[in-house]
Amino acid sequence: MNLLNINFNLEYFLSRFSVIGKFLPVTLGIAIFSMLIGLLIALVIAFLLDLKITGLNKILRTYISFFRGTPLMVQLFIFYFGFPQVFPRLAQIPIYIVAVYVMSINGSAYMSETIRASINSVDKIQLESALSIGMTKYQAMKRIILPQAARIAIPPLGNTFISLVQGTAITFLLGVKEIMAVAKISASSTYKFLENYLVVGIIYWIITLVFTNLLNRLETKMNKAY
């Protein structure tokens, strides 16, 4: 189809959704694993920071500052291309794994801050009330503070997930075959740049919309509780 002489092949464009979409599981897989592992690391960091050990806190603060203060792409390059130069055995780690662990680390830097801020936003007197009737700090955290913090943390954690999904687009630079990589390869070989990149853009957009919608529903549901 060549309407009004515009160089845009609609049929080709539409057909790309299924071709590129086939690789959606790779994109989502990397994002979801990064999110889960990142969340775990973030919880550990938040817990360690709370111990208030001066030396350890400095190290953790530096970690957070570095991974928030540098582009994800640079981090991926350092880990994937840089480190194997010094530790050759690292070169054997599959790219998917490297992508997941770099993105986990990146996400953890943001999420540890989110977690800390959410815990701090639950008023301290609830913790004191719990302690004052003989609950341990662990019991108080688990039953009173963390459930409330979780509710506060959900919107910013959702945003981190969206960033991670979009961040997966860069992993094609390492050779990960996800939706962006497929779009790029087809675009270069057919010169149909707009069709391919538009399709991949729309797919990212739809993921974000669907996820945001789920998140909003979750939030409304949780807000109803109290």
Binding site: I125, S129, L131, I133, G134, Q139, A225, Y226
Partner: protein, 242 residues
């Protein structure tokens, strides 16, 4: 029953408690009064180990705590036998009123759920809130919140209840419903240490009134003595200014 000996506490180089000695017999109500910043809250919080005293000892029946060496077990035991009612309620916002009262029963006393529910309702009824079991704190008035907080503190069957200005954050018209509940507790011979600015109430319920200033107990005695007979100028000034 409650014996405090030589208690000291400082924040940085600010000495907030200086050699506090205090005895409260079983079933007695002790009211602490004194100017702002005199250390009343810090004293109560130390009795519950929300603040760690620097020196001195606290004894409740057979639980003995020495400030020089406070173990986790001691801390838990002491907290199980004292409970605190705060000025700003501190209700668990993710739990209903009834669940707030049940929490300590389930988690601290390890009572099984159905039994805890029964007890929880009993204490909710006791503070006059039989119709608010399922309300969340955000749905309660200040006076109701404080009554739930008192029910929660009563539920663990403490040996001593500590109250830190329980009515100071309340609208004036809600003060009485809370004082009424406390008065009932006094009649049931609950041992209580109360910090309050409600002097009429203090006069009514106190077996002993303690006057604190600048981290020290300046004087103590019956309400009749403190309010009308003491010739200590600091006390007279404080009372005159109320």
């Amino acid at each position: 029953m409650l014996k405090v000996k030589g208690l000291y506490k400082s924040f940085g180089n600010l000495d907030v408690l200086k050699n506090i000695n205090l005895n409260v017999d079983k079933g007695k109500v002790v009211v602490i009064i004194g100017p702002s910043g005199s250390g009343k809250s810090t004293l109560l919080r130390s009795l519950n180990l929300l603040e760690q005293p620097d020196k001195g000892s606290i004894k409740i029946d057979d639980i003995k705590i020495d400030a020089s060496n406070i173990s986790k077990i001691d801390t838990l035991n002491l907290r199980k036998s004292t409970s605190m009612v705060f000025q700003h309620f501190g209700l668990f916002k993710n739990k209903t009123a009834l669940e707030n009262v049940m929490e300590g029963l389930l988690v601290v006393k390890k009572i099984k759920y159905s039994e805890a529910m029964k007890l929880g309702k009993y204490f909710m009824d006791k503070v006059g809130l039989p119709d608010k079991y399922d309300s969340y704190p955000s749905q309660l008035s200040g006076g109701q919140k404080q009554r739930v907080a008192i029910a929660r503190a009563m539920a663990i069957k403490p040996k001593v209840m500590l109250f830190d200005e329980p009515t100071s954050a309340l609208d004036p018209e809600l003060v009485n419903e809370v004082l009424k509940v406390m008065q009932n507790l006094a009649h049931e011979n609950m041992t209580m240490v109360i910090v309050t600015h409600e002097m009429k109430f203090a006069e009514k319920v106190a077996d002993e009134i303690i006057f604190m200033d600048k981290g020290e107990i300046i004087d103590k005695g019956s309400s009749d003595y403190i309010f009308y007979k003491s010739d200590n100028p600091r006390i007279n000034n404080f009372i005159k200014d109320l």
